[in-house]
Amino acid sequence: MYFALVLTFMLSLSYGQFILGWESNYLDLLISRPLNFRSYFEAKFFLLLFGGIASYVASLVLVFLRPQFFGIITATSLYSLGVNSYMLLFLSTYNRKRMDLTASIFGMQGKGGIQFFTIVPTLIGPIVLFLIFRTAMSRDVALLVMGGTGVAGLLLHRIILRVIIRQFQKKRYLIAAAFRQSP
């Protein structure tokens, strides 16, 4: 299960945990120009979906070799797409670390508490969900619940993105002020 999660979600996570940070050096420009932050978050959402789908397609190689993994990989993938993507976008409004894009990718650059915290709901959350349903009912039910939650999340994307954008608008002064500090 953990393996499936790493496989299908790592690509999105490695980009998504720094969202807003990627734009930290010119957020003032984006805020003071007629940029619609709805399209900003939609674009990030589709990028995360793309990353997730690409990972899923890549992991089908594994399914081809070991067909018994098909269920778990598909269910985890759907969960990553339909729940974790929003989680990353929502948590990005708590990102307060400016990122220097010219600096090395190693080290603590652009990382703050929020990046560590991101791992809890996005990686540990689905594992706990899976374990609860597996022990209470069965493995198949657990997989159906995870896949179903993911599909529901994808179907509700308009509503969920609206909540995220409202959250961003509330926090924008704090985020922009934090990004103005040197890293």
Binding site: N25, Y26, L27, D28, L29, I31, S32, R33, P34, L35, L101, T102, Y173, A176, A177, R180
Partner: protein
């Protein structure tokens, strides 16, 4: 056009800015002078909704800038390098801005053509990223970016430092031309008293966040200001 009502910004229990009432009418070239920490950038940041006022509000065309986004379509600003995207080339950056305003490429190219003299051949076609250019050239890009969509309100924070003498003269000519030709409302801050008095119709002197003098520009203004800062 711009109205600050009982506007207050406090940092750590001191007033960075306190403006009971400040009105900038349409078409005015408004100059802001004052020593460091006088509150010039704070005022501009409040006008651009980059920071939250502790009290009061700024209205642009009668609408609070915090509640309406309408002002973004007709306001162009350059405060500092945070208004540049430094990993793009100047062409890519202007292209991005053109898309934000849904300009057609011909209009954008026409605009860049009109900037050619100001750019002095050092900006476009150099195949360099903005971060590799000199501070003077970065500033030119930022100033040009503030003008890209033909704004009705132009906000420039310290536009003159880092520019070479020819560019300063060209910039002044450009701003004066813009004022007479399009009646753009301008908010310009500067440490250089000569430059602001040349361009602006009205000069407000800030100190510690408070308006000390509010002058209609005439031939004595420069002297008045110099006397104040010499004291």
């Amino acid at each position: 056009m711009i109205r600050a009502e009982n506007l207050r910004k406090r940092y750590a229990n001191t007033d960075a800015l306190h403006l009971p009432s400040l009105i900038i009418p349409e078409g005015e070239a408004f100059g802001l002078v004052g020593n460091n920490g006088a509150g010039k950038t704070t005022f501009f940041s409040l006008v651009l909704d980059l920071i939250v006022p502790t009290a009061g509000s700024v209205c642009s065309k009668g609408k609070d800038v915090r509640e309406s986004e309408a002002w973004k379509a007709y306001t162009g600003a350059y405060l500092d390098e945070r208004f540049l995207i430094d990993f793009l080339t100047p062409e890519e950056y202007f292209d991005f801005l053109g898309r934000l305003y849904r300009m057609n490429p011909d209009d954008l190219n026409g605009f860049l053509g009109s900037m050619e003299e100001f750019f002095n051949g050092e900006i476009l076609g150099t195949k360099k990223y903005i971060r590799e250019l000199s501070r003077g050239n970065q500033k030119k890009i930022g100033i040009a970016a503030s003008l890209v969509a033909g704004p009705e309100i132009l906000v420039l924070d310290e536009p003159f430092p880092h520019l070479d003498p020819s560019s300063v003269i060209r910039l002044k000519r450009m701003l004066l031309d813009l004022k007479s030709r399009t009646g753009t409302t301008m908010l310009i801050s500067s440490h250089d008293l000569n430059h602001v008095t040349e361009i602006c119709d009205r000069i407000v002197l800030l100190e510690k966040g408070v308006v000390i003098q509010d002058l209609e520009t005439n031939e004595d203004t420069l002297q008045t200001l110099q006397r104040y800062f010499a004291a």
